[in-house]
């Protein structure tokens, strides 16, 4: 186990591809033993940052240390402590699940027999025993992710990079990946997780950095980050469209927030500010006001701030505009 409490420390990390500064001065400090979320839209520089930290790309400027080792000068020392699961399956699709794990176990120094034993244990823990003899190219998306993560923890890395581990997965498989991540962290491994989904970062990460155009635009604990955006949004659908102006007034007073009129003539959305009262409590008070005024509410939901909203709040642009 590592004695240092800082897993990753970067200062002014830069990577330039042609004219684009993919990573433009990233400073990160990742404490050991936790999940650290890096949140941002496509093309924000998340993968490039991870690749530099995992010694796959050389930084053009700045410094990065992983457990105190410089990623360029002491690449091998870094490599012996980290594992990377990329956006695409980082296993050989032509080989079977079992062969892939044996291959990687052998490459990390296990003898022939221990390698096979380790592969079997991992396949069984990941619920892949039945698929062990099948080529990975015939695996479903969820199975690929599992074999991929299994390959990454063959040797219990001190630091695991998960680059968008749930992109393209159905909700069930996504939950299972989350469970795996929790189990891995519970055993003391530090996880750096990149994601486009705020709820994923919310579920797993202790601290989150929001990254846009190669820069960190916000960093903090989940609570800190959310309070900068607001606690969430209340969506309300009325029965009668003509009561909407009245409902808008009531909601605006009750929530002390700007109320947005949706294109749908019966729908309204109001952002709930972060205060001592929880978002749900504020929302229920607002609904009570509507009921007292005799306005029928057909449908109501309380949503978390979405990545769009985080982005809007932090940059005044939506992620779509950011990537455009």
């Amino acid at each position: 186990m590592s004695t240092s409490t800082i897993a990753i420390e970067t200062a002014g990390l830069v990577k330039v591809f042609g004219d684009t500064r993919a990573v433009d001065g990233v400073d990160l400090t990742v404490p050991a033993g936790t999940v650290y979320g890096v949140l941002g839209p496509n093309g924000a520089g998340k993968t490039t940052t991870v690749k530099m930290l995992a010694t796959l790309l050389r930084p053009d400027a700045g410094e990065a240390h992983v457990f105190g080792h410089d990623v360029t000068r002491e690449a091998d020392a870094v490599r012996s402590r980290v594992s990377l699961t990329g956006q695409y399956a980082s296993v050989d699709e032509d080989l079977t699940g079992h062969e892939n794990l044996v291959l990687l176990a052998r490459l990390t120094g296990h003898g022939r027999r221990p390698a096979a034993a380790r592969a079997d244990q991992l396949l069984s823990a990941f619920g892949l025993l039945e698929a062990a003899g099948r080529q990975v190219k015939n695996y479903s998306g969820g199975m690929r992710r599992r074999i991929d993560i299994a390959a990454s923890i063959l040797n219990t890395p001190d630091l695991l990079f998960l680059d968008e581990p749930t992109t393209g997965l159905d909700p069930r498989s996504r939950n299972q990946v989350w469970e795996i991540v929790r189990a891995v962290v519970a055993q003391g491994t530090t996880v750096l997780l990149t994601t486009q989904y705020l709820d994923e970062a919310d579920q797993l990460a202790a601290r989150i950095a929001v990254i846009d155009r190669g820069r960190v635009i916000a960093e903090g604990t989940k609570g800190e980050l959310k309070s900068s955006v607001g606690a969430g949004s209340v969506h309300v659908r009325l029965r009668d469209a003509h009561r909407r102006p009245e409902a808008e007034r009531l909601l605006s007073t009750a929530l002390d927030a700007h109320v947005q009129l949706e294109p749908d003539p019966v729908a309204l959305t109001a952002r709930v500010s972060d205060s001592d009262r929880g978002a749900a409590e504020q929302a229920s008070r607002a609904l009570a006001e509507l009921a007292a005024a005799g306005i029928t509410v057909d449908n109501f939901s309380l949503g978390q701030p979405s990545l769009d909203e985080v982005f809007l709040a932090l940059t005044d642009r939506t992620p779509e505009e950011a990537t455009a």
Partner: protein, 283 residues
């Protein structure tokens, strides 16, 4: 493609077992880093597994050489040597060299297709001897070259090839060819890393291999060629290898041609090995 195995999307996945996962993560003592040899052999094993799972890829290394030896023997044999059975005594060792040198280009193709996939990134994050991945490709390819050589020799023997060097001469010839091809393949590992697509790797390979193999002494002796062409042919590494292999199979031990071939092999590794590794580290 094995279209018979459907994807198992619909099938229910067994749940992940959190307890056994936890136990796995705790109980590990990190083994020592594998030796350069062991890592290279493991990558070689991977290449062989790929042949096992996609045996169609052996079609190129078997059908192509057979086609070549049949075509050239019967097309040129009568005109060049009086009869096909006379000509094959001269041609077969050369055609063997040509076929194996030609299939070395698949090394570049497999390097290039691997880069597209994430598995390459995983290999590059492993704390192992860096050239092991590349050496692994070449070890797997050496198996292909051996298969191609065996196929061609069998076809040649059926067609009337009778090497005076006997079994030792033929084995020595094949061994020399394997050494040279292993060295020659480093050109393709370089191009595999350098070029963007599989197609451009194939294109460049043909540009290099066609002149090198045709402008040699594989088909005819260089004496009738114009002087400037002789100058190229006589200094072409493929000519040295073909002459050496022919000599060995005929039973003379052509020391100088064998040394020339080995010298070229050493030079190719010395130049393209480091360039490949530089590209690999920079990728």
């Amino acid at each position: 493609m094995s279209t018979t195995t459907p994807t198992v999307e619909a099938q229910e996945l067994a749940p992940v077992s959190a307890e056994s996962l936890a136990a796995l993560l705790v109980a590990t003592e990190r083994p020592p880093r594998p030796s350069a040899l062991s890592a290279s052999l493991t990558f070689g094993w991977r290449a062989i597994l790929k042949i096992k799972h996609v045996p169609e890829q052996l079609f190129d290394v078997t059908a192509f050489p057979i086609m070549m030896v049949l075509m050239y023997t019967y097309l040129f044999g009568g005109a060049l040597a009086g009869s096909p059975s006379e000509y094959i005594q001269y041609l077969l060792p050369g055609i063997l060299v040509m076929s194996v040198v030609m299939i070395t280009m698949y090394t570049g193709v497999s390097v290039n297709t691997d880069i597209e996939k994430g598995v390459f990134d995983r290999f590059r994050t492993l704390p192992i001897w860096r050239p092991a991945v590349m050496v692994g490709y070449l070890l797997g390819d050496a198996l292909r070259y051996t298969i191609a050589s065996v196929v061609l020799l069998v076809v040649g023997l059926v067609m009337g090839f009778r090497p005076d060097g006997g079994v030792p001469g033929v084995l020595a010839g094949v061994a020399l060819l394997l050494v040279f091809s292993f060295a020659f393949s480093w050109i393709w590992t370089m191009f595999g890393l350098l070029l963007r697509t599989e197609k451009s790797v194939m294109g460049v390979s043909m540009m290099v291999i066609f002149p090198l193999t045709f402008l040699s002494d594989i088909f005819v002796k260089p004496e009738t060629m114009p002087g400037w062409l002789q100058a190229f042919v006589n200094n072409n590494p493929v000519t040295h290898v073909a002459s050496a292999v022919r000599g060995l199979m005929e039973g003379d031990w052509p020391t100088s041609e064998v040394l020339w071939s080995l010298g070229w092999a050493a030079l190719l590794v010395a130049v393209f090995g480091p360039v490949t590794m530089r590209l690999y580290n920079r990728k």
